[in-house]
Symmetry: D2
Subunit: 465 residues, 4 copies
């Protein structure tokens, strides 16, 4: 930290989440001796950056703080002497997410924006950029912390640590926060009186919970959430949207699942529901696009100098707050218990030593110290190892642009059925995202030259959005 | 071995495969100093045992051998002083396999008789019996070798070694034999001039091949089998029955897949084809039932004293021959190279130390010595770990009869989609196989009492076969 | 905890350390709702128990507390409904330790009361007793915590957890406490402003340290303690008693050693010094016996109702305080950072999953949550794996009484040279400790019958003490 | 292989062993289509090369073969298009070995030319040279096999594979050959009728043996070799030279040790005996120097065209024959069972994946296929892990010339007591070997400038040889 105070740089500063981030800093102003906040974006995001950036300035001013808020498109210069770099960018913006979801769904296959076909493509687009940012950081701010909450947060964090060599990386997600709150509520015990232990990988983790008397309460939470009531028995999961887990399976696990396990444990219902959304033109990306447009309309209001309530509907609530929390904890050696994507180093024995895992631990000034986890039972072990093998394949393909490897990843992904359809979707998505996949340029050119059906399919599908 | 000679006991001796087994012994008469062959079956198989047993006697006699061939329903007595026990029984006969296949397919889900829903139920039925046989062996023939080729051979072998504690178990399968022959043919090199290395688990393994000059030839075999020809390009996999692997994926693996990988790597085509078979009433079990009926008609012929050509259409060809080969190799310390399901002990680093793996190695008089394999690349590692996690869950459920665990296994099995359908199929199959699942008796009673829909569904479906 | 309050039972209650324990409870009276403290000892310790027990009662009274202090020789009854059981017993009392040290030293071999020949014999004597205590606990207080600080604390803790199956065991040692204090002093930073991470096994661990700014300060502490000053250079380690580590080696380790590493890293000086002590009749045990006699004289004073200063010279200072600290932390879910011997479960990747390790972590109401450590560099990895292999061999021999295994342990122990001398010492110690080694009774009888030299040697040696 | 035939290059061709090598090739002339044998040496070895090289030519001629035998000092050119490169060089010749042994022994510490202080220094001298040879091979003969039998064969092989990246390396040793012969003799069973399984690291491995009936015979061999006879009982290991293992310990291991285990398991006797040799001026190196001088006198005889009997007294008998055997097996895909130092890859689960191990397996045309071994019991596991940690530290120090690391290796080596003496020996040996340790040049200069005692000690000691 320079003598003037902390410099925090946010890549993807034009995001609609920025006000939550700014609010988080303001809430922690006593812990964070900030001198400058730099919001960085790219040319395509300039308009959003201007709107949200001005609002950020108003928020800081309203809080009576003298922090400088800088808006810039020059990433490299922005990184100069940064203490913390947070990443919340989205390569290709929400339009890319629309493609991530709608192309697979048009084949009756889940897009799933983090681990499914969509997530794999988000990784293909994002990983080269995060590695590029790290290259800049090596010269501009070699001691800075990288706080990543760009999805797929697990794979991006793994790429940053293992392939970028940036050890001072922490990956964040809001999912564990929600699960803590839910368990506390079900047990009717204040969250701070419970001890939580999470382990797994991003969007694919489980957790256990104990009370102050040292009793494990996991089973009670499982019962409170998943045990079918008489009413459920009758309706037999009629409401697919709330596709639930099988109580019996969760009892076998003896751990609480995370929300995203729904895509695996309740695959058929989730697929059915997603196809309905697809058919109505209301996939998550499409809904979010509208929400976001409304948000930016609000942000334009020169009187608005606080985070509007509507942002909490955006879906990623708590994300930015978690980022502020970890920054404050590192800066002040608070030893706060958090759930973070970090280098495994044997924390989860079943997964590769050098991969990223998402686990509970303590945030210190020198980094994240995970609690040891050990091994899973076979019920959980095999599937998470399967997911990690897929992730590693995706990360390698994202870096080397090897089409064969990308196809391998598609085939082994449990949300994509192996066979002809896997290759069709892969080829269509490569073409659809061609502007953001330089590593696959040769293959995309080959598709453009030889596969007119692929091109027509995508062009027709996107026209209809 | 007693001074009179070898005693070989075959559990499931009434199988249509028995003539191949007898032929295999006869072919190796110089290596096998047999005194008695005992064919054991249960009451329900008595008729088949009589027919095939008489034929076995004729074969031995025609070969001019003085071996005693004994037919019996008394398993325990039969095991007394056995040197080798081979297991080829099928709990519930082919009718059970019909259910294994048709119930899942009626929901549009692959039955897959070894690793899918069908395979899991075959494990539920078979594992308690194999453990029972081992209990008998502990007192009757504590030094005997157990040569298992009852499917699912990998899970049954793992149960025998890990849970039954019978270290002298080898599990056999004919799949690697076929792959060796195919590679030799494609390379136009005699099989014995090639070195093969297989690793994985039963029906889920890969292999590599080298020639006498020390060159790896795996890629050439991949190209010869999987590289699309111009003609393929046009037909674009029209013939679903021959659903092929994606050449690009196999190149990424840098190993040759086994035939059963089709169910995972070409899942959609395999499913489509299986549903067609289902609709025509021609699932594999239904076809095999007819083949078998024809075979037993042939076997009845009192003039027939050799293995009829028609048996090779039965599907399991080479199976029994592999059993005879391994018996001869153990008996004579031949150090024959084979592919065997055996205790892992670190051979495949990625899988649990105490599980069963199917790998290449050398058969000695003291057992199977596997060649070390080490680790897989991520493309293969994750999926096989996923399969093994499922297998371990199945094995534990087969032993403890825990319904929650059985449901867990169904949900994590990649051939069964998670969700409502998984539980529906599980419940229906529990009911359908109720006569052979004593460990699940309580749950089955519960289903019978509370789930009339389940019962009606199965009864209707089975009526239509 | 019963509604009356906590019941804490101390096995080996007649120890001279008991006043520190009582003082520790009194200091934490606001955190510990104690109803009863039970001090248990055996007949041979009755005299000491009476003295120190009366003093304990005076201390509690002087503090104005209404806690019941009970003295008893009936261990089983004492354990009834205990909440915490602490173990500080010494099988064979200090006389046994005299033998542990003097027999090896008479051969020019280090006795080393925790990991050397002496430590192995202390394990042989102690482990059967701790397993016996656990058997009682299973029926008397199945939910109690076992807080062990009987040496060799690592092996005793491993036996309790792995062989006794008592998961709620924590092993304590005062060594890490001293090292924390020393580092804080050298850096001139308050201990609570530093973050320490210890890993290894009892009396064989290393540590690293960071400051509040996130900087690792390990190297500075290494330099402050171990870098030779000009004066050192001249004296070239003249003072053998303070036998120091080679600065260069510690730099290669990049971790701080613990004091007991001296026996390995400065083996020759330690041995020379120990032989001098042996020759003067002043081995540690002999010195401690005198200290203890003086202490009990003090304790007899019916006016003394506080821990006398002289106890701190006893050597084990901070031990009992650590026990009180961990009891308070468990009772109140304090999440205190401590260094504890606990089940590995992959915390230290290089050591067996089911062994005991001594590592940093957080004490919660449901137990100890270790921070993950991962792997050591080769400089440290090999030796600690060697120590653990020796420990496991010792523990197994302590349980099964297998002489061959005991000899194996002696030969692989780095403080005992392999060969004739190893066996001579082993046999002599078996005979010398015969009253406390029921598991080796047959072998000891064999020695008594066939090895008169062994008996004479010991009898002569012990006469001279 | 070129169309003319095999080119085999031997580095250290002037060795007294070369006649055994040539004899080995001649014996296998039908399997080895040799065109050229190149014997390479350095200037200091030119005289020996000329003598032994001329004799090699006479041997080939006498066998009626047309192989070209080339003698050269130009290593790089010699390597051009080689098919096999064998390494049997000794950096610093036997004079270096004299120092390796005598300096430690002058302090009462075992020199032990392979794993002790001597072995560590032999590694320091040899590893940079082997890596240099590999650099040449990368351009001159990228497909050649490297057959190493330069000691310490395990560390040199590990360096070649892991640090040099030369996967086609096999390390050979004659020790397993002798143990096979001894077991066969003790059991009175032909060696080829036994199955041996060795595992461990070079000069630190164990083995088990089975007969053709599948019975393990390890215990019988243990009894035959190590069970004390009545006579032994009386003499109680009087003859220290034949320092024996403790029978009881070997029974606990349930494996046969190798001869070099004597230095660890019977450390005190071995040390006493070595000190006697030292005092008589008859350490192994000194004896061998005389043997070698006599051999070269014999080799000079222009009539001698066969390997003289005297060579078998040299100690390394069977070494060269093993090299010829493995070359023949690779060349002809013989699948011969051998014991080879090779990359671990999980063969021995307890040791690092990427280290070298010495294990049983099969030699194929594409390389060595080890039989899987798995884990050791604690009795053996800890010590071999300790040795490997030491070896890895030595290898790293040999490459990076880090003095701190070298000192670490000395301190953790079980044959060198930790403390002042470790550093004294290290410094003295660094000075003594200064001509062959360029990587330690800076440190050696520092010693020369600041440690006159070190220099005087070595100079005096070496004068007396």
């Amino acid at each position: 930290m320079s003598k003037d105070g902390l410099k925090i740089v946010t890549i993807g500063g034009g995001s609609s989440y920025t006000p939550e981030l700014i609010e988080g800093y303001i809430k922690r102003k006593d812990l964070l001796p900030i001198s400058e906040i730099v919001l960085v974006d790219i040319e395509a995001g300039r308009h959003k950056l201007d709107i949200v950036g001005e609002m950020a300035k108003r928020m800081v001013k309203a809080a009576g703080l003298d922090w400088t808020v800088t808006l810039t498109l020059d990433r490299k210069s922005a990184l100069k002497d940064a203490d913390f770099v947070t990443t919340q960018f989205r390569v290709g913006l929400l339009d890319a997410r629309v493609k991530d979801e709608r192309i697979p769904l048009s084949h009756g296959v889940l897009g799933q924006e983090t681990n499914g076909a969509g997530g794999m493509f988000k990784a293909f687009r994002t990983i080269p950029v995060i590695l590029d940012i790290i290259e800049d950081m090596k010269t501009q701010c070699p001691d800075a912390w990288l706080v990543n909450f760009t999805n797929p947060a697990g794979m991006v964090t793994e790429a940053a640590i293992k392939h970028g060599g940036w050890k001072k990386t922490v990956g964040l997600c809001n999912v564990p926060i929600g699960h803590r709150k839910m368990a506390a509520e079900k047990l009717d015990i204040p969250e701070e009186d419970l001890f939580f232990k999470f382990a797994g990988i991003n969007h694919f983790h489980w957790h256990r919970v104990w009370d102050k008397q040292g009793q494990e309460r996991t089973h009670e939470v499982i019962d409170a959430i998943y045990k079918p009531t008489d009413e459920d028995q009758e309706s037999h999961l009629k409401n697919i949207h709330n596709a639930s887990f099988h109580y019996e399976q969760i009892r076998a696990l003896e751990m609480l699942p995370c929300g995203y396990h729904r895509y695996y444990y309740a695959e058929d219902e989730m697929l059915k529901h997603s196809i309905e959304e697809f058919e109505k033109g209301e996939t998550r990306a499409q809904v979010v696009k509208k929400t976001e447009a409304r948000l930016f309309e609000l942000y334009k209001d020169p009187e608005l100098d606080y985070k509007p309530e509507e942002l909490s509907q955006r879906g990623g609530t708590h994300y930015s707050d978690a980022a502020c929390e970890i920054i404050a904890a590192i800066q002040n050696d608070l030893r706060t218990e958090m759930v973070v994507s970090t280098e495994n180093n044997g924390t989860v024995t079943d997964l590769p030593y050098d991969c990223a895992v998402e686990v509970s631990g303590v945030v210190t000034s020198h980094g994240f110290e995970p609690y040891n986890w050990g091994s899973f039972t076979p019920e959980a072990r095999g599937v998470i190892q399967g997911m990690k093998g897929m992730e590693e394949t995706v990360i390698r393909a994202a870096i080397d642009g090897d089409y064969n490897r990308a196809l391998s990843a598609f085939i082994v992904n449990p949300l994509v059925p192996g066979g002809v359809v896997a290759k069709d979707i892969l080829d269509q998505m490569l073409y659809a995202h061609k502007d953001h996949l330089p590593q696959f340029a040769d293959k995309i050119r080959e598709i453009e030259e030889n596969q007119p059906d692929t091109i027509n399919y995508v062009d027709e599908l996107m026209k209809s959005n």
